[in-house]
């Protein structure tokens, strides 16, 4: 068992080391890889060895705890962080020398956030991560990237105000002063002491939650993410999406844990669930209209976070029902919902990293991110293409990939909790996601290249390997989700809900038992089909090119129209949505003031609900 403080110190020290070796990029790479590798190994060791609920009072009052939940978050952070560092070796070759410094600092802060079991320290590390990652977003120091970075910083700081107010209210409520009072914010203390039971306690929790919800992000306050991730280099976008928003959003979920204990209100949880549903639906529709590869992925990320919020919200709803009716069956649903949400969190970090890594590879090789200008890349970059295919299918929830399992569990939890409407919207969103990614895949990888991308090379191996590892993870968790559920997710669930029903007893996890059978049946079908295809043994596929040119209606060789001119638009899918999309487009003005007004309005709405006493 390794003290989280050691991991953080190693990462910060490594950052300092890279400062010394600023000019030598290779040395920086080696240091970064070693440091992040160590962090990853340490977290895995913690996973294997930790005795539950060990709290390490640090020298500075740092309140680190190693338990299932913190380990899961830290694992996501270090694992994706390690792959990001590996990926950026080739991706940003002409980078600023400060790149590694800030990556390692952000990593350290994120690990600190992950292991902190104290709201104050969570806040401190979150601010650290925000500041360091701003430099990463603005890495290129161009107008757009600077603008993206500053926008990110402004919105994040604005959100922090809510957190600070919330923390101050708790401080006020606890009536302890001075540095020693930081112990008040320890999660365990908050859970047991009862200072949160009053209205002020609830209000403070709520404010902190709102502040951290920006980092998740949720629907009306998601706007910083697409801008920031478009401005940032692809590796940083991955960092932002795959780990930042999860780790940074972690406190929000952590607050949910507190909510589980203090908010025994059906309305509250229905509002949270609706928030999740709205997030997923609206953002996926906006993602539809995007032509920029990374922007599309960013909006889709927000949409996927909606699933996580929905899963956790359903968990809270079930706990509320449980405390109202004391029927232990509700605990099953609660465990199902929370597990499903956390599982989707893990899955999302897997497939979204695959997609961002691939998007980065495409941008690296072709120099553009406009999906209308791309086409036929599967010939040139086959590995990237197939990896992205796996990632897209997983995110769309095609059976036998990991996205399907977690989404299935969320739907089942919704229906079991008596909220089928949420499940139906989630299913519809899944179909929309499917369409979004088909559009992306089809126009980028399939069809004919417009001609300018004839000399595209496959991406460098070191850029492909991380996405290969992640894609393998997607397939593994698709076939055998029990591994993830039992080893990674359930320990985290137990932290949030100590009375959770373990997977084998919970019918909501039963899908995993049949997935192997489903896989066998699918395989049988494929084999039967292939045998049918090959049944006419001797005949060789014909090769004459002219004979096997695609059918364009007869104008193939006519000088009137060349074959590569004959391309229908990739926006066909979004055509029926056009009026809706234009409506959404008008609301996304890109002005920070406007976004902050949104945030304030949203916060006022929720707070007024709280004050009225509905939640």
């Amino acid at each position: 068992m390794i003290d989280p403080a050691i991991i953080i110190i190693v990462l910060y020290l490594a950052a300092a080391l890279t400062l010394i070796g600023l000019r030598v990029k290779r040395a920086n790479d080696v240091i970064s890889i070693l440091a992040t590798g160590f962090a990853l190994l340490a977290v895995i060791l913690n996973f294997l060895l930790f005795p539950p609920w060990i709290s390490l009072p640090g020298i500075l009052g740092l309140d680190f705890t190693v338990n299932g939940y913190t380990n899961l978050i830290a694992l996501i952070a270090t694992f994706i962080g390690f792959l990001v560092v590996m990926y950026s070796i080739r991706y940003i070759e002409h980078r600023k020398s400060s790149y590694s410094v800030f990556v390692l600092l952000t990593m350290g802060s994120l690990v600190g956030m992950a292991y902190s079991w104290n709201l104050f320290w969570v806040f401190v590390f979150a601010e650290l991560a925000t500041i360091t990652s701003t430099f990463l977003i603005a890495h290129h120091f161009k107008t757009t990237s600077l603008e993206g970075g500053i926008k990110y910083l402004i919105i994040q700081f604005f959100a922090s105000i809510f957190v600070i107010v919330g923390l101050g209210l708790i401080y006020q409520e606890a009536q302890v002063f001075g540095y020693a009072g930081i112990g008040v914010f320890s999660i365990e203390f908050l859970l047991t002491s009862g200072i949160l039971t009053g209205f002020i306690g609830k209000l403070s929790l709520f404010l902190i939650f709102l502040g951290f919800l920006v980092k998740v992000p949720s629907f009306p306050i998601h706007t910083w993410l697409p801008d920031a991730s478009t401005a940032a280099p692809a590796s940083i976008s991955t960092l932002l999406h795959a780990m930042m928003i999860k780790v940074a959003g972690m406190p929000a979920f952590l607050i949910l844990l507190l909510f589980y204990s203090f908010f025994i209100s059906v309305t509250f949880w229905v509002v949270i669930c609706s928030l999740g549903v709205l997030t997923m639906l609206v953002c996926v529709i906006i993602a539809f209209a995007q032509d920029d590869l990374k922007r599309l992925l960013a909006f889709d990320s927000v949409s996927q976070m909606g699933y996580v919020i929905l899963g956790l919200g359903i968990g809270g709803l079930a706990i509320t029902y449980y405390s109202l009716s004391a029927d232990s069956l509700w605990l099953v649903v609660a465990a199902g919902g929370i597990t499903a949400g956390l599982f989707h969190l893990l899955n999302h970090s897997l497939f979204k990293s695959v997609l961002f890594f691939s998007a980065g590879a495409i941008e690296h090789e072709t120099g553009t991110r406009d999906i209308n200008k791309l086409g036929g890349l599967l010939q040139a970059m086959p590995t990237t293409g197939y990896v992205m295919l796996i990632g897209s299918l997983a995110i769309a929830g095609v059976p036998l990939l990991n996205g399907f399992t977690s989404k299935w569990m969320i739907y089942n939890a919704c229906i079991a909790a008596g909220q089928p409407a949420f499940a139906l919207i989630a299913i519809f969103t899944s179909a929309l996601t499917f369409a979004v990614f088909l559009r992306l895949l089809c126009s980028v990888f399939l069809g004919q290249a417009p001609g300018t991308y004839d000399k595209v090379h496959p991406a460098p191996k070191i850029m492909v390997v991380p996405s290969l590892i992640l894609a393998a993870g997607c397939i593994l968790f698709g076939f055998l989700p029990q591994i993830a559920l039992v080893l990674l997710i359930f320990p985290a669930t137990v932290v949030l809900l100590p009375t959770a029903i373990p997977p084998p007893m919970n019918p909501l996890f039963w899908v995993s038992l049949d997935l192997f059978l489903l896989a066998t049946l699918l395989f049988i079908g494929l084999i039967v089909g292939y045998v049918l295809y090959r049944i006419k043994g001797g005949a060789q596929p014909i090769k004459a090119d002219e004979k096997t040119m695609p059918f364009t209606g007869g104008a193939l060789k006519d000088p009137y129209l060349k074959v590569d001119e004959a391309r229908p638009a990739s926006t066909v899918f979004s055509h029926p949505f056009k009026p809706l999309l234009n409506g959404f487009r008008r609301t996304h003005t890109g002005l920070v003031n406007f976004y902050i007004v949104w945030f304030v309005l949203f916060a006022l709405l929720l707070l007024s609900l709280l004050f009225v006493g509905w939640i």
């Binding site: 229906i415 079991a416 929309l432 088909l438 089809c442 399939l446 899908v511 089909g529 695609p550 066909v572």
Partner: protein, 325 residues
């Protein structure tokens, strides 16, 4: 947990059910073709025709178009076939057939039906043809429009079993056995009579999913875009696609009969199967009549229809289920 023996038994059962589905689809396909021919004042093909067409395709030469992606071009028909085979296994023929806690529930069915359509989308784009792409994009719009009403209409019977509480079940077999008895006077206790609007919505979506007019054949409208996604396909690969499409006559009708027409409930073993198949045949005939008596709509109409009228029907029933009147 299942033993290896259970596992093998299920695989044997798989082939048995597939056989049933195949022969029923063959017959239903012939009924469809013969009946639509007769309604159009034609004579119609002999009974062996549906299979003869497919066998003929398997005898033809194999090729891949020059601009296609070979791997996906070959994979997509196989994917379509295996998805539809799994679907035909997952939808029980009127009665519960398999042992053990198989979680082949309605959501898995929903997802596999999307996977089936996905195969056509990938086929269209992988083949490199203009018409394939247009067909594929239409298929996607179709999926988007149909998915929501389909999901609601599929889940309504299972929601009606539980009405909120935890005793819900997404399993089709539970839905079938819940339709025992009578509803009002002598009307059987079918969900068709209890939630007629949802039944209409499901019927329309399944009609569309099985390539029947007025909406279903838009992605492959021959007068507009040749054969849509399958424009570039020929020979054995087209044969596999056609074979996969043959199963639609079983899968989509059986789904409707199981969920809304009570399957073969109320009869002992061989008869329940027969009753079930007879009901399926009635649905096929109904679908044929609708197919024959309508013009093809535009793709924008599909979007409008399914996300307004059809969705309204489904939502109304959903509210009824949730409120409980």
């Amino acid at each position: 947990m299942q033993t290896v023996f259970d596992y093998l038994f299920i695989i044997a059962l798989y082939f048995a059910v597939i056989g049933l589905a195949f022969f029923f689809s063959w017959g239903a396909s012939w009924v469809f073709r013969k009946l639509s021919a007769r309604l159009q004042a034609r004579r119609g093909p002999p009974a062996y025709q549906p299979i003869a067409d497919i066998i003929k395709l398997f005898g033809k030469e194999r090729f891949t178009p020059a601009l296609s992606n070979k791997f996906l071009y070959i994979l997509s028909p196989l994917l379509a076939l295996s998805a539809i085979l799994i679907l035909s296994f997952m939808i029980p023929p009127g009665t519960p057939l398999w042992p053990g806690p198989l979680a082949f529930d309605l959501i898995v069915i929903l997802y596999f039906s999307v996977m089936f359509s996905l195969a056509f989308v990938i086929a269209g784009w992988a083949s490199g043809s203009t018409w394939g792409k247009i067909g594929a994009s239409r298929e996607v719009v179709m999926i988007l429009s149909v998915e929501l009403p389909l999901a609601i209409a599929l889940l309504i019977p299972s929601l009606a079993l539980a009405r909120g509480g935890f005793s819900f079940s997404l399993s089709i077999t539970d839905v079938i056995s819940a339709q025992q008895g009578t509803f009002i006077w002598i009307l059987p206790n079918w969900f068709l009579f209890r939630y007629p609007l949802a039944a209409i919505a499901l019927f329309l979506t399944l009609l569309t999913k099985s390539w029947m007019r007025p909406f279903g054949d838009i992605p492959e409208a021959e007068q507009e875009i040749f054969a849509g996604s399958l424009t570039e396909y020929g020979g054995p690969l087209l044969g596999i696609f056609e074979l996969a499409r043959l199963f639609r006559f079983y899968v989509f009708t059986a789904l409707f009969v199981d969920l809304y027409l009570g399957g073969g409930v109320g009869f002992v073993f061989p008869f329940d199967l027969l009753i079930f198949l007879a009901k399926c045949l009635v649905i096929v005939i109904l679908m044929t009549i609708v197919h024959v008596a309508s013009a093809r709509y535009r793709i924008s109409h599909v979007f409008k229809w399914f996300l307004t009228v059809c969705l309204a029907f489904a939502l109304f029933s959903l509210i009824r289920v949730l409120v409980g009147f």
